[in-house]
Every structure is written in C-alpha cells, then in structure tokens.
Subunit: 166 residues, 2 copies
C-alpha cells in the first residue's frame, strides 16, 4: 500500500477504503479484473504499469482479500487473478468513477467507452449510477457491457504494442 497505517486509524470509512485502494494502479487493476482481464500480462498491457507495480499491488490486494489467485495451469505453474466477494463488492465505486469520468472528463465528440444495457428493463443504462431508462440503481449482475468500437480498438492496440515490445 501507499502508507496505510495513518489512514487506517480512523473511523472514517472513506479513509479506510483509501488505505486499501487509494492508488491509481490498484484501481486500474481492479477495473481490468472487472473487465475480464485475469492474467498478469493482460493487466500489464492494459494498465501500462510496470511489472513490479502490478506484482506488488496484486500481492496487497490478495492480502486484503479483494483478489484471489487461481491456478489455471500446473507445469509450468500459472495463475489467474480473480475478484473475491469483497472485490466484487467494490463495483459500485468503479461505476461511480466511470460515471464521473464520462460526464466530466470527455469532450462532446468522444463517445461512451462502454455501452451498458440494463437487463431488467432491456434498455440502455446510460452513464450514471442508476438506469437512465427505468431509474433503478445499477447492479453489476444486471448489466450487459458492449465496448465501443473505438475503445475496443484502443485495447487491441495496447495489447499488440505490448506483445511487440516484449
């Protein structure tokens, strides 16, 4: 972590949370896990962090119980990183970060990075934390994600660039 001791000694839940995830890379790693990237190299390629940064963050995320390592291949031993229940519970934060980013950090000509459909009502969910069509709060299980072509291309390009450099 990035200096958790002082912040953890408080009743404030925001400070406690920040003591665990108050770091750009940590949040980006969680985003990647939520997006379905579970391998070290995928995380590295899509976040742009150095291997040590990722290794260190994954270690603390595991220690803090947000992430678990799963063996997907013995010989050679290979791991995937998956969200635990505690990690999954972090989703509303990412949703709120996304909402703010889409609303306040984009020029009008840039589209939404990921389009969500709200399963219960079958309509677009919009960029807020509640469904713009039916008004219900958005839960992860109810969302069908569809990345925009531009965003998909960006991620693809990142992966190619990473493989090229390696």
């Amino acid at each position: 972590m990035t200096g958790k001791s002082p912040a953890a000694e408080t009743l404030c839940p925001v400070a406690r949370t920040e003591a665990v995830v108050g770091d750009r890379w940590t949040v980006l790693i969680l985003r990647e896990l939520f997006m379905g990237g579970h391998r070290f190299e995928e995380i590295q390629a899509q976040t742009g962090a150095t291997p040590q940064m990722i290794a260190a963050r994954l270690k603390t995320l595991e220690a803090d119980g947000l992430v678990e390592r799963r063996v997907y291949n013995k010989r050679p031993l290979r791991h995937e990183y998956h969200l635990t229940e505690k990690g999954e519970a972090f989703h509303p934060v990412l949703l709120a970060l996304r909402a703010w980013g889409e609303m306040w950090c984009k020029s009008p000509d840039e589209g939404v990075a990921v389009h969500y459909t709200h399963r219960p009502c079958g309509q677009p969910a919009g960029v807020g934390t509640v469904c713009e069509s039916c008004g219900h709060p958005l839960r992860r299980a109810d969302l069908v994600a569809e990345p925009s072509p531009a965003y998909r291309a960006e991620r693809e390009a990142r992966w190619e660039a990473f493989k090229g450099v390696r």
Copy 2:
C-alpha cells in the same frame, strides 16, 4: 497529480477519473470539503497530510475545476476552498467508497461513522448507495448527516492535537 499524462490518454473513463483524483490525499481532501471543512487548517488537521501535500492537491483540484477558492477575509487575505459543480458531482464516488468501507473495513463492534437520514422518506438511509428504507438511490441533497459520538470525538481530538502542536 500523480502522473496524469499516461492515464489520460485513454477512452476509459475510470482511468481519466483516476488521473484527476487517483491519490489518497486528494480523495481525503474532497471528503473533508463534503463534510463541511473549508479552511486549509481544517483540511490539514483532519486529513493528517503535510501542508505541501494539501497546497499541491488544492492547486491541482482548482486547476481541474473541482474546487474554487473564495476570499472570506481581506486584510489579511484568507481563502476558503469550496466544491464547484464538478466537485459536487463527485459525491457518488465518495458515497460508494463509504459504503464499501463501512461494509468491508469494520469490525462488528465499530459503529457507523456517520448516520444518514433520507429526507424524502424520513427513514435511515443505511450504508449502501441506495436507501435501505425506501430503495431509492441516495443523492447528496436528500441526506441529513449525523456523525456518531465516537466519530465526532475523533475529529474533535484531531483538531485539538493539531492546535496543540502548532
């Protein structure tokens, strides 16, 4: 910022948001502003950050349009820091951080730091991002905050300790 350039060059709204507020002190400063602390010293006392950290973060928050300086006293010139509309719009993120912290970073014997009443329904709002009584999404304007005695005492103690050292 803590290195905004690489993260800002993406369509991902989460990464863009993190480029602005991806830093523990920044989030803690915003929390303090939302809690009603508007003076430099209040922020310093309640966050525990050093003056440079706060000065630097406030400067970038102002440059990014989340915070505005207001003169509350000429001779000697004194400023207060207030959230802009863009800063106020960040509230759902803090609410989500709070929810996660209350749910996953507390032992059972620790109470909730701030008790919210949901004005529209008059009932307790709980610790989630939707009202536990009526199910509606929580908006800042609808919440009446009541800090717990313990949390109030903690903040009071921090202020006293700060004044003592100064």
